[in-house]
Amino acid sequence: MAALSDLTIAQLSAAMSKKEASALDVADAHIKKLDEHRALNAFITETPDKAREMAKASDARRAKGEVGLLEGVPLAIKDLFCTEGVQTTAASHILEGFVPQYESTVTANLWKSGAVMVGKTNLDEFAMGSSNMTSHFGGVENPWKRKGDNRKLVPGGSSGGSAAAVAAYMVPGSTGTDTGGSIRQPASFCGIVGMKPTYGRCSRWGVVAFASSLDQPGPFARTVEDTALLLQAMSGHDPKDSTSAPLAVPDFAAAARNPDIKGLRVGIPKEYRVEGTSPEITALWDKGMEMLKAAGAIAVEVSLPHTKYALPAYYIVAPAECSSNLARYDGVRYGLRVPGKDLTEMYEGTRGAGFGKEVRRRIMIGTYVLSAGYYDAYYKKAQQIRALIARDFKQAFEKCDVLLTPTAPTAAFAAGDKMDDPVTMYLNDMFTIPASMAGLPGISVPAGTDKDGLPLGLQILGRAFDEETVLKAGAALEKAAGFQGRAAGF
């Protein structure tokens, strides 16, 4: 039999149900991988003892015949999800040492399904970034390298640690959060599958907030089927999150296992053909459409006229919400405190020392656009553009069932690149942000490699709460592309 850490979630479940391995064996095999690849810096906190304890409890449940959807499956959790009794930092100095006394709804759902936590993964500070370079705990290294080039590449961000951990076979699956592309872009950079569900599908309760009208938890895995299994366990209405949708959770795994897309109308948005996209990615995009057509889909050209305005509008909405959400870090109730002679000095000192450069920059953008006299010119204007973006998608989905686009304009870049000018870094999310602004579901599926041998993903977007069709199309693309890549040495 293959090594346990080589197996997918579906294969691990089968192996455990056939008693070929216990949950404890599976946990130990993955803990060993965490040891081996610690240099990637994918984890902020490893929890091997907790993993073994949870695995033993899982084995005990299985012995009694209680088998959850993810029984005994080891997972890594983005360090933005509060985990009871386990440090949760959001990769920020201001939350270093914070130990939540409650469990986020999404992780509670995963544990209820029998999953086992092996650790908390690294991310961009407060999920603000596209490279994982803004983490207070240092950047994460992408397991992939360019052929004949030893430079370290970024895993993307913000959920970079979660994506790298899955790509390095340290875990078969992990959780991320996606505000403007923070699941889909790292999935593309690391050659794995990542999905942002519809806004409202997964509860945000207990997830450290960045931009509340955009934030949405979602899964990473190495196959579309595994991604669907994770999403199924994570999803569901939660009375503790007022924006959580009161809808039943469909059988996502069944949708992923049935990639029949005969007659499916796949929209190709013409505004996504933009300068600055690598020609290899444009070629892969065309090839992806050919593959879906060969599987029975129908190509439809559609127009999303306000695409180019999504990014600048996002950089008003997200920072505005971030500046409000991050007002809570004042050194009073939790996290870092820098003493001062009075309250104001304590607030300013704590926040100045606790937040990193990118977070401070975004808080300042947000504070400015919300300040007296500027609200209409910026925040209101951005929300109006957001309405137009949502309308574009609605109209496009009258002509098609899903959209196919590139996930990111480039493959993974080298650590330290694009750091000089914030706008250059922001442009990395040009293909993921429009759907975030409209709250729509999207998946990134690895579909090929570039001339340097780096993985490239394609993105499939769907209608609100139609993750099933997105998963079906994702599975069809996965099958046709047959991406079997694995980073050398992992």
Binding site: V99, G200, S242, D330, R337, R360, R361, M364, T367, Y368
Partner: protein
Amino acid sequence: MSLDKDMVARIARLARLKVPEEELGTLAGELSGIFAWIEQLNEVDTNNVEPLSSVSDVTLPMRGDKVTDGGVAAKVLFNAPGGAVYIDPTDKNAGGFFTVPKVVE
């Protein structure tokens, strides 16, 4: 839109962020760059467009205005950075206080 050092200092004060004097110039440059890029939104005619504040088409449920939890003061105060003060140290859930620098002279 170009921001000068004074404006950046004002925003930092509003955001309760201590920004060292020597960083104000760099920040002014970066923020001006970002706002210049955002200016392109003015190309879009948004007259009579209703601002979108929630993407959810689903009617969100209401709940009764009732207390649904409580009695967990020890958990609330667990991470207090200045150390918490409890009313009854033998029963931390009886209640307590966060501590801050003196506010009233």
